[in-house]
Symmetry: C5
Subunit: 355 residues, 5 copies
Amino acid sequence: MRLFTRKLGDKAGLPPGSVVHVGDASDEEVRITVLDYNADTYTETEVTDLSKLELAKASDTVTWVNVSGIHDTATIKEFGDRFEIHPLALEDIVNTAQRPKVEEFDDYLFIVLKMFYPSGDGASVLSEQVSLILGSSFVISFQEVEGDIFDPVRERIRKGKGQMRRRGADYLAYALIDGIVDGYFAVLEALGEQVEQTEAELLENPSTATMQTMHAMRREIILLRKSVWPLREIISTLQREELSLIQEGTLRYLRDVYDHTIQVIDTVESFRDIVSGMLDTYLTSMSNKMNEIMKVLTIIATIFIPLTFVAGIYGMNFEHMPELRWSWAYPLGFWIAILIVGSGMALYFRRKTWL
Amino acid sequence: MRLFTRKLGDKAGLPPGSVVHVGDASDEEVRITVLDYNADTYTETEVTDLSKLELAKASDTVTWVNVSGIHDTATIKEFGDRFEIHPLALEDIVNTAQRPKVEEFDDYLFIVLKMFYPSGDGASVLSEQVSLILGSSFVISFQEVEGDIFDPVRERIRKGKGQMRRRGADYLAYALIDGIVDGYFAVLEALGEQVEQTEAELLENPSTATMQTMHAMRREIILLRKSVWPLREIISTLQREELSLIQEGTLRYLRDVYDHTIQVIDTVESFRDIVSGMLDTYLTSMSNKMNEIMKVLTIIATIFIPLTFVAGIYGMNFEHMPELRWSWAYPLGFWIAILIVGSGMALYFRRKTWL
Amino acid sequence: MRLFTRKLGDKAGLPPGSVVHVGDASDEEVRITVLDYNADTYTETEVTDLSKLELAKASDTVTWVNVSGIHDTATIKEFGDRFEIHPLALEDIVNTAQRPKVEEFDDYLFIVLKMFYPSGDGASVLSEQVSLILGSSFVISFQEVEGDIFDPVRERIRKGKGQMRRRGADYLAYALIDGIVDGYFAVLEALGEQVEQTEAELLENPSTATMQTMHAMRREIILLRKSVWPLREIISTLQREELSLIQEGTLRYLRDVYDHTIQVIDTVESFRDIVSGMLDTYLTSMSNKMNEIMKVLTIIATIFIPLTFVAGIYGMNFEHMPELRWSWAYPLGFWIAILIVGSGMALYFRRKTWL
Amino acid sequence: MRLFTRKLGDKAGLPPGSVVHVGDASDEEVRITVLDYNADTYTETEVTDLSKLELAKASDTVTWVNVSGIHDTATIKEFGDRFEIHPLALEDIVNTAQRPKVEEFDDYLFIVLKMFYPSGDGASVLSEQVSLILGSSFVISFQEVEGDIFDPVRERIRKGKGQMRRRGADYLAYALIDGIVDGYFAVLEALGEQVEQTEAELLENPSTATMQTMHAMRREIILLRKSVWPLREIISTLQREELSLIQEGTLRYLRDVYDHTIQVIDTVESFRDIVSGMLDTYLTSMSNKMNEIMKVLTIIATIFIPLTFVAGIYGMNFEHMPELRWSWAYPLGFWIAILIVGSGMALYFRRKTWL
Amino acid sequence: MRLFTRKLGDKAGLPPGSVVHVGDASDEEVRITVLDYNADTYTETEVTDLSKLELAKASDTVTWVNVSGIHDTATIKEFGDRFEIHPLALEDIVNTAQRPKVEEFDDYLFIVLKMFYPSGDGASVLSEQVSLILGSSFVISFQEVEGDIFDPVRERIRKGKGQMRRRGADYLAYALIDGIVDGYFAVLEALGEQVEQTEAELLENPSTATMQTMHAMRREIILLRKSVWPLREIISTLQREELSLIQEGTLRYLRDVYDHTIQVIDTVESFRDIVSGMLDTYLTSMSNKMNEIMKVLTIIATIFIPLTFVAGIYGMNFEHMPELRWSWAYPLGFWIAILIVGSGMALYFRRKTWL
């Protein structure tokens, strides 16, 4: 995850509602797919010419238009003109640095969300911005790249599984949000495993790599929090306010996804506490290790440095050193002195519980 | 306690209300016991065939159905169909990663709780999910495994002790919640003793094991908090809202259990502060120890290294070293110099309060 | 102060309202004293037979019944039966692990408080639970052991000093609460002096004992906070709610004691911040000391180790070492080399500001 | 600033409203000055006999009575009796440990504030308690010692500068509060300079004194916070509530001083964050220094200890050491070995970026 | 960014509404430019004589007066007198230490904001105070120095781009605020890059400079927070309150800039968390490095000190040292002993995973 989307500053000075893409450049073609369904019928088409797309305000079918690829601002603008989407909403759709939010416009609700999924190799977490426009009988969704996160929803529509086909556009919007929140759990699971692994590593054999993993996890958690807290606000707004676009029957489902969001937040906060505790543990374990290293050095040095001094004395070349001539000086005197000093030191260290 | 229930991500993409078991696999048989009582009568049966179980909405007895074993989703589903439990509630019952919560449905209240108890050997804390469905004259409780936490309640019903038999289903639900909260105290007591023990250890003779215990306690506290805070919310909801299922007379009891919950939270938060303070103390005591070790090394090295140098000088083989020939050089000159240098150093260290 | 009152878990499974003593066992006799007074009269008796005690609901005197010793649950129960005290209140009176709280019953207010006082030797803080039952014309107070904290109030009643005798039972309750809050100030003063002493010690000559004192203070503060915050809630409840038992004129006095409570909280929080800052200072001062120790070692070792090496070279017994034979090698060559190396090192250390 | 005003506990047990001086003893005479003014006239007198002082409730002049010296409780009591000030207010006036607060009485507002000013030598911060009683046409102010903080206000009244003389007693009270808040800025400025100085010191050449300064600043900030937060509450109360004593036109001025208070709070909180960050930086810089010290020691020791060992070998007196006899052993063999080992070590350290 | 604007204390004692410049002295000439426009016409003039400037309350054009240079208090005062700006507002305009705020006056809104921009060399962040006065048909803006932050707005007016020319003074005020908030993003981007760079440095090769950069970033973040949080309050006030000066149609735009402010706050808070995490990581990495250094020292010392002692023994000059005479003592006995001791130590260190 990046800390901050670059080049946002380029927008400075432009009038509000300027549709300028902020995010990774992409060569991908914009793809627009349309799913039109009700309990009985179901059609799926791909649109290339926007002028042929119609979104009736009152309709007996629900229409889901999915746009993948938001770097093509021309198409987005055309979209906006055709379906009377407010320029400020368009601006937010193509600005991938947008904070998750919900906004009520006259005829529709505009929702910006962040999607998270593990990268291909599972080593890091990727994020993508998803915008939803919920009208009375349609949902328009905008994705950065074509992904498979909405596939289960699509599948449910195709197969007529669950209540999907019997319910309105608001339920479809709920299903999409639910799919995104489900994605958070996958990321949390991966993160949870990493936390547990790192914790085991930490208690057994901490290394510099452990520290770097902890740092990376901490950072990931900070960025996750930044997306998860506004998400809670969004769903809470959808539930609480008198939004005519949300039907009574969908409220319980929104409550369910709200509960999930709270659970995500709880888990992220727990992870945060745990990782911060791990850093403390790491620091103390480093101190412990250092103490052990220093004990070894001190014991060895404290025993041998005085002994070496004694040996040094009798290595001196003074002419008048009577001890040197005594017969038992070396075999008895010297070795006994050495033994006494050495074992005295050892006893001292044992009393200090260093040995 | 596990950090995160694995395999939750498997549910991603399923329609809401899918009854998928999330948690530890289990081979245990599902057991359904039914207790039917009022102030006068009392019957206890075990049910194997769900179709024979009846839960009259209006009844002059209170019926308590206890289901232990929620891994058998087929039975749970049958249960749901038979007693018209909302699919979203069923989904939560079998999802052991569910956050504690209360939800109001048309005819019943749905409550999810976490139960905590010390493991057999007392070394760690185990948790289990308990769900309650409170109707006008019945309570259905779902446990992960058959446990003895509800036994005191069962006993009170059997013996007709207290007010149990004279009161309605809401009082039974209260009694079950009260039993679960009592379990928290047992866990806190065990944790409290561990905290005190570790604290004593910390101040007397901290070791690497102390650090690991502190880390484990911290983690346990984090996970406890995650369950305790929503519990407070739940009981507060039960008390405050105009829930027709809760009778006036039960409110005071709910207030009592609410007080207990607050006390649990206070204690958990105190433990958290204390353990975090212990980590600081540990770190400082490590620093202290290190300082002491280094003092010993420094004192020894600082006294003997210069002395060894002096001895080294007179161990040199230069032909023209006049000192070597002086008669009193060694017995007087050398030893006096040594004594002066040595005691000078000792004085210096004493002035620095290192000795 | 103990971290957690043991044996609380023994209560698990008992029906609510079970009067079980939780706390320190005691052999002391229960003593019940009764003070009956109004502006004109005043009687003081000791009661041994509860059946003779009367508490008229409407009365022109205020009756204060003080019960010291709550371990005798039989007496407490008899009390409860006689004066129609709710079993849940009785349960809380004898449970010394109860959190401070206020609860409104039909005819009376039930208040649980914690009293703090320094231990005899002033080294630690003791706490005791005090419960009050405030009726229309009586106050019943329950203490763990007979103490002198209520003596000033008693004295004021006896002497008719202040407004005590002219006011009702609610004023008496206020006076008792005020006495308890005054006790907090005494504890805070003692703690404040200890904080200042430890701080001086910390900046002058920190030792392991300093660290242990800081740890103990931190723990004491954590436990104080746990009692003080609910106290604020209690007095705020007494003030704000429409409690018919509290007369208009007493409100200003409650506001006064509320201010005191806020002041206690402010002071406790300041102490907390200060002690946590002291720990940081201690850690940095340890680092400082270590740096100084290491500097001494490094300076000595870095100067003498190379010199010893040089001396070692000329102590070698090679037959062909021409230097050994030069006349001025030792008196000039060697000593000059030594001086240059030694003073070079000293200069280097001075440049590093280590000397 | 003292941590805690001593001897507060002496008040324990006294009835509420006892006028007992808590604070530093003082020999100073109490001085009472009276300023009486309106837009046209202006008189300034010093009062020695309280019985001659009159405070008309309705008056066409504003009367400002300033009392400096609150240790003389007799005078304060007489004051209270004469002008019908509530005993609880009197008690707070003479208790310098009182928390800042505002209280509404029947005919007047009672305000307690803390004043801060740098000590004479600028090294520390002194605080003083100021109490204000605001009536319909008078303000009574109580100071601990005679100070110059109200001089600018007095001057403005004398010179008729600004709106002072054209406005009522509430504006006078505002002007006094404004003067006190201005004093906070002076203290903050001094503190800010100290923070910047210490910061520079910290990054260039941190010493033990730096640490002690940081500790002192942290403590000062904690005590400042304790006074500033309640101040905000006070001014907010003066503004928001329907206080008949505050006129419409004064509200904007109160809002201005409220803004200043928020600014003081913001600045104090920033200082707190900065000082806490400085402590972290100090700790890391200590670690850095230690690492550098240890590197020097390790490099020297690691290079010379093995070399000394080699020299030691050839200083041995074994009879059969063939190397000793080889002609080139010393001039070539020994020195080349030494050079290889020495430069090998140096290279190793360079690779580790220690050199 | 400076911690605290100096010389604020000079204002102490002045009556409220004193127009005293607080901030950097400047020699720049005050420049007043006037832009008068509506959908059709557009005039741009520079004013030198204030008496010729007219601001009609009701007008069919919007007039934007920009004043750069607020150090010339005489001009500001003249301004105030002429256009009836409240003295308290004038005081705030020239006090660059003012906290961001919005205040409603009878005929206009007064807004104080902080502008941030990177310094010329990009190494630090500069801030400037901007005040806005929004009337029914005019906006007066005050800048400290002439800058280019409002140029894009000016350009849009000139070119008639966007809706600028078709909308009222409130939209102009919004556009100016929006421009200032856009400036925050530029600063955040620069900060974000610095954070990422420092993070990379930290994980690869931390140095003292890294620590100083972290300290500087932390400080910058603290000061940014101090400006950003009140900004949120301001825009929220503009939106929420019933301000007749803000038209319905502008509210959505204010909501947009509000969202941006929240995003700025979120990002600043994330940066704060990340930088604080970096400090922890730095400290642990220092500990790691120290451990490694100490390992090298300990290994070398522990292997060679005992060996040197052995060599020392056989360098002694005792006459009776039989070992010295054995033929194989040196070539075999000595070297084998050395090898055994040396490799024993090496094995020991390998078992401790130090090698």
